[in-house]
Amino acid sequence: MVYAKVVRSGIYSTFQDEGRNGYLHYGVPVSGAMDRYSAAIANLMVGNSTSEAVIEMTAQGICLQFEQRALVAYAGAECRITLDDALRTTNSSIVVNPGQELDIGVFYSGWRGYLAVKGGWQSDIVLGSRSSLSALGLKPLRKNDNIPYFPFEKDTFTQVAFKNTKSYLSEVTFHLSPGPEFHILTESVKDAINGMRFTISGKSNRMAMILEERLPELPIKEIISSAVFPGIIQYYPNGQLGFIMYDGQVTGGYPRVAYINQLDINILAQMRPGEKLNLKILM
């Protein structure tokens, strides 16, 4: 086992894989990559199974110095990547030589980026997964952390690139299916949901993506605590809406008025604070 040293940790960088199965009844959320699609691409570009752990970066990337040779790939938010100051491309596999520094810069489009290494990052496993969660003792990356990985030993190598047809700048509309408490919404509130343009709040995180705008307060402000699922939209007492995400609490007491398709979570995960979206209730 060899190590990559964290030269710069970025704002919020964690290990994420495809999540923690089977512990929800202990209150342990699923966790895992917020944009499962980009994480999978990064893994596939280095020949990994999509279940390997990647490093998830938020808002800006990390800088790592690799002790030994490595095969890495980055996918997700648009950014500048340099290897010892030489420009490299995103969505493409990269060979890092011993001692080199891989610097992933600020994200200028999209919000989350994923760095995979061939063989997967060998960070600690807790309850069957490498996905970070503070409550389980798995904390975000810090400067000077050493991350284990397997050195890349193949002599010949074909670079793999992925043609990214996704654009993070296109108009986003999420289609909502009715949730268990959908009936508490009045017709005028439903019209407002369908008609308004919503803004991603800076208070959003891996537990919930929150929208800034306030809808009218409803007479029913809370429910008896009950299971929630990533993708469920809660209607807060103050009229704000929040999407439960992968680190979100397993049970909640706010009305679950609607939910989005699981695939849309990948898109939502790439939305930046201040970006706009539309909602459309499917009847």
């Binding site: 495809e18 929800l24 570009m45 992925f162 268990p180 695939l263």
Partner: protein, 233 residues
């Protein structure tokens, strides 16, 4: 969906959730109801392997399913295929060569004599042509453990019989069209039996039951009738 069970008090509803279901059972908050739901949670988990977790609420169950499919299976497939083409994914080149003893004798191979006559070749020549080729396992199918072998030389090709033999013996080595293969069990079939192998090529007591993998090599090694009989014992 509304389920009405024996008693009105047992009314439950199932609501779709992202990657799961919410089962609501509004009987009020009490230890009896919590135990009822807790036991129901265990029961559901035991009955349905796809259920990853069941979260017990005061009046509901959250059923979480296995395999978060945030990327459709089709998309995964597409991504894998894209990367497969021209990439350096580590493939293990672990091909096996299987040496199969075969007895080419008129007394035990029902179609061998007719085969040689139709082909206008001697028995020795037939053995030479069939056994001197290295075949590859092209496909496994038709019966448990039946291997379709590629590489038969054109001179030995023989169409399937116009009527299927109701019972081809286990171990028969046969030719059907441009293919040659081995019958792992007794079966009806239309291929021309020109050889017999004394070994079992499919055994459910073994793991894996069949030693063959598509892409493996197969070489037939001629044995005498005496050796065949001895082997069978």
């Amino acid at each position: 969906m509304l389920l009405l069970l024996n008693k009105v008090e047992d009314t439950m509803t199932i609501k779709s959730m992202p990657n799961g279901y919410l089962i609501e059972c509004k009987k009020g908050i009490s230890i009896e109801n919590t135990r009822y739901l807790s036991q129901l949670a265990d029961y559901l988990k035991n009955q349905i392997p796809e259920i990853r977790s069941v979260v017990v609420g005061y009046e509901s169950l959250g059923v979480y399913l296995e395999r978060e499919d945030c990327i459709s299976l089709r998309s995964r497939l597409e991504l894998c295929l894209e990367f497969w083409v021209g990439t350096n994914i580590d493939i293990s080149e672990n091909w096996n060569t299987h040496r199969i003893p075969v007895c080419y004798d008129y007394s035990i191979c029902p179609d061998l004599k007719d085969f040689c006559i139709q082909k206008n070749i001697s028995l020795d020549r037939c053995i030479e042509l069939h056994a001197n080729t290295t075949y590859f396992v092209a496909m496994i199918g038709f019966l448990p453990g039946f291997v379709y072998l590629g590489g038969l030389i054109p001179e030995l090709a023989m169409p399937r019989k116009s009527f299927a033999d109701p019972s081809i013996k286990k171990g028969s080595v046969a030719i059907g069209g441009m293919q040659t293969g081995i019958y792992p069990t007794e079966s009806p079939g239309g291929w021309n039996v020109i050889g017999m192998t004394p070994i079992a090529i499919f055994d459910v007591k073994k793991t894996p039951p069949s030693p063959f993998k598509t892409g493996d090599l197969v070489i037939f090694e001629p044995i005498t009738i005496r050796e065949y009989v001895k082997w069978r014992k």
